[in-house]
């Protein structure tokens, strides 16, 4: 199966590829992100939301301690801007070994200025549950970061607010991403086999516009073992559909 690069045949009107940053790489590899990213000047993107399904981690793990997350966020593209500050929320799946149980968590994070993943627990988080995540960062200069996660299947939610302005996003990007998470040894966990993760309703907001991720100037990233195009592909996004709002990310490899 030919997998990369993705062909840009989709049902939506494909926007012109222009960025306010001199750095723009459409369809480029990365070490840790697979998904779609809207790009602009710092301060552009303030809100984001997406619905994902808690995946069932399949098969034998190629390495122990596999950990992946599926999230919506604003900021954090350190290729485009510096300092990059990502405000994000989503779902994390972790498995320590092939026969080990799968652990799912819902979380928020502001990095690098606060801490790693912070639990935002829900009434339950089972494989197959639909989870809606919403974040905003200084939306219309309201002076706060806000995180909201809802288990749509179980009809429960949780939220968190931060008011320290040093925690605001760089807001140069807005994105929906499947990620292999990092650890404090400076490395990355193996990416668990999540099969296909559907990002539904990936909506990114500026202070004046609410639209699908595919309807802004955007780029996509696929994940490889070493972050280069010659590395082994770990995950990649499929075409954006539903008028710019939906796209899948496919798992391809673990380490």
């Amino acid at each position: 199966m030919a997998i990369l690069p993705r062909t840009h045949q989709s049902t939506y009107h494909f926007p012109s590829h222009q960025s306010n940053s001199p750095n723009s790489c459409f369809g480029c590899p990365s070490v840790n992100w697979a998904g779609n990213v809207d790009t602009g000047a710092r301060g552009t993107y303030r809100d984001g939301s997406v619905t994902v399904t808690v995946p069932n981690i399949n098969g034998a793990l190629s390495n122990s301690n596999s950990d992946g997350s599926y999230w919506v966020g604003v900021g954090g593209d350190s290729y485009i801007t510096s300092p990059a500050e990502v405000v994000q929320a989503g779902v994390d799946t972790y498995k320590a070994c092939s026969a080990c149980p799968q652990y799912n968590t819902s979380w928020w994070e502001v990095y690098p200025n606060i801490k790693p993943e912070q639990d935002l627990p829900l009434c339950r988080l089972n494989t197959g549950d639909q989870v809606y995540s919403f974040i905003d960062s200084n939306d219309n200069n309201n002076g706060k970061d806000y995180f909201y996660i809802s288990n749509v299947s179980a009809n429960c939610y949780n939220s968190h607010t931060e008011t320290n302005q040093s925690y605001f996003s760089d807001s140069a990007t807005g994105e929906c991403i499947a990620e292999r998470t990092g650890n404090n040894s400076g490395g990355y966990y193996s990416l668990p086999d999540f099969g296909t993760e559907q990002f539904s309703g990936c909506t990114i907001d500026t202070n004046t516009r609410v639209d699908g991720v595919g309807n802004y100037t955007h780029i996509y990233h696929y994940m490889t073992s070493d972050g280069t195009s010659s590395g082994r592909v770990l995950a990649y996004p499929g075409p954006i559909t539903n008028s710019g709002y939906d796209f899948p990310v496919y798992w391809k490899g673990g380490a």
Partner: protein, 149 residues
Amino acid sequence: MKLHGMVLVLLPILLLTGCGTNDSSPSSTSTTLKPTVLQVLRPTLKDYGIPSLDRTVRDATAVQRLYAAAYKLPAPPSGRINCPLDIGLVYQLDFLHDKTSLQKMTLQATGCQFLFLDKHDVRASDYAFQLLFSKTIGVPSLVPGQSHP
């Protein structure tokens, strides 16, 4: 006399090993000789059109300032981290005293932007350190073409 002799033998060893504490300062060899030269290599990143960079900094004061700043960085926080986008761009640093290599480090230019002092000592770099590094080696930003506030 015997006890006195043992103390004389053990004291320098204890001082050198930091009495078992988690000392975050440079190793004893490195403290004896201060770095005077910094060699920096940034390998090419073809996918992003980023060329290689090879710089040698001979301003001993600037080199020592950066060296000290590196050792003052904190360890990364524990727990799972959803890092910013990591495109795999790194800077390889070699701190030398004249021509003798004292310490090699690797700085991730993107992603979590960790600084590896060696295999087992990882630090979380911050924006102030990244600016100092950029200034020391004379580049406007760690990633060419990056926008800044």
